[in-house]
C-alpha cells in the first residue's frame, strides 16, 4: 500500500515542507539584516483551524506575492510563495529586518517542526504495527 499517498502523511509532508521553506526565508532575512533596501519576507501562515477531520488537508490562504528571487523552485507545489511583511521599523538604508522578530519566528517554527515530526513518526509507527 503506498503510504505516501495517504492523506495523513501528505498533511504532515506539506507542513514539514512549509516549515523548511519558512526556515530558508527567515535565514535569508537574518543574513540580509545589513543589506541596504532589503525588505523582510515571510510565508503565508497555514491555517489548521476548520480542517475537516475526514479530509485532513488544511485550507491554505493563497496570496499573490511580490517577486521573490530566493524561492525559484518550491519543493512541492502549493502556497509556499513569500510575501513582504508590513513593518513599522525601517532603517535609514531602507532595510526592514528586525532580528528579534525573526529569531522569535524561527523558534516558533522549530517547535512546530518538532511537533509535526513527532506526529509523523507516531503515524508511521501505528501503520507499521498494523501491517
Amino acid at each position: 500500500m503506498p503510504f505516501g499517498s495517504l492523506k495523513i502523511f501528505q498533511n504532515s509532508r506539506q507542513q514539514l515542507n512549509w516549515l523548511s521553506h519558512r526556515q530558508r526565508v527567515l535565514s535569508q532575512n537574518l543574513a540580509n539584516v545589513s543589506t541596504p533596501g532589503y525588505r523582510a519576507k515571510d510565508l503565508q501562515a497555514i491555517s489548521f483551524q476548520g480542517v475537516h477531520p475526514d479530509r485532513m488537508i488544511p485550507k491554505l490562504a493563497l496570496r499573490k506575492p511580490d517577486h521573490d528571487t530566493t524561492l525559484q523552485k518550491p519543493l512541492l507545489s502549493g502556497p509556499t510563495q513569500a510575501f513582504f511583511i508590513q513593518s513599522d521599523e525601517q532603517k535609514l538604508s531602507g532595510n526592514t529586518v528586525i532580528p528579534e522578530d525573526e529569531v522569535k519566528k524561527m523558534n516558533e517554527s522549530a517547535l512546530l517542526h518538532e511537533q509535526v515530526l513527532k506526529i509523523y513518526k507516531q503515524n508511521l509507527a501505528n501503520f507499521s504495527s498494523v501491517f
Binding site: 530558508r24 543574513a31 539584516v33
Partner: protein
C-alpha cells in the same frame, strides 16, 4: 572543484546543505564587518603626518545579496570596502608635524561612538545568524532521525 567540502563540492551534491550556507554567509559578513569597524576604532585618533597629507580615512562596507552560481541560492556578501568621503575634523596641535600655518591638524574622520554602535549591531546580527544556523541544523538532524527505528 578541488575542495570536496567547499561550496562546489560536497555541499553542492547534498542539496539540503544549501540552507546552512545562507546563515554561514551572514555570519562571515558580520565578522568581516566587525574587522573593518575594529580597524576604524584603532585608527580613530590618528592624525596627518604633514599638512599636505590626509590621515586615516574611515572605511565602510557595501553589502549585496547575489545568487551564488554553485549553490543556486542567493547569499549575502561584501560587494566592496569603500572609504567615507566626509571631511576630516581639525584639532589645534601646533607642535605636531602635520600642523598647518594656523596650528590645525587633520584628524581621522572616525567617530568612536558611531563605531561602537555599529559594532554592537554587528554583534547582534552575528548572534542571530548563529541561532538561525543552529536551528536549521537541528531541523535537518531531527528530520534525519526519521531513519532511526
Amino acid at each position: 572543484m578541488s575542495n570536496p567540502l567547499g561550496p562546489s563540492g560536497l555541499s553542492r551534491k547534498l542539496r539540503f546543505g544549501a540552507d546552512l550556507h545562507i546563515s554561514a554567509a551572514g555570519m562571515v559578513l558580520q565578522r568581516r564587518r566587525m574587522k573593518v569597524i575594529s580597524e576604524n576604532i584603532a585608527n580613530a585618533q590618528s592624525r596627518s603626518s604633514s599638512p599636505d597629507k590626509d590621515p586615516y580615512r574611515r572605511k565602510m562596507i557595501q553589502v549585496e545579496n547575489k545568487k551564488d552560481p554553485f549553490l543556486g541560492i542567493s547569499t549575502v556578501r561584501i560587494k566592496a570596502v569603500i572609504t567615507d568621503q566626509s571631511d576630516f575634523p581639525r584639532v589645534y596641535k601646533p607642535n605636531e608635524p602635520g600642523a598647518d600655518a594656523n596650528g590645525m591638524v587633520k584628524q581621522a574622520n572616525v567617530q568612536s561612538y558611531i563605531e561602537m554602535g555599529d559594532m554592537q549591531d554587528a554583534n547582534v546580527a552575528h548572534s542571530a545568524n548563529l541561532k538561525a544556523y543552529e536551528n536549521t541544523r537541528n531541523m535537518l538532524l531531527k528530520s534525519m532521525s526519521l531513519l532511526d527505528n
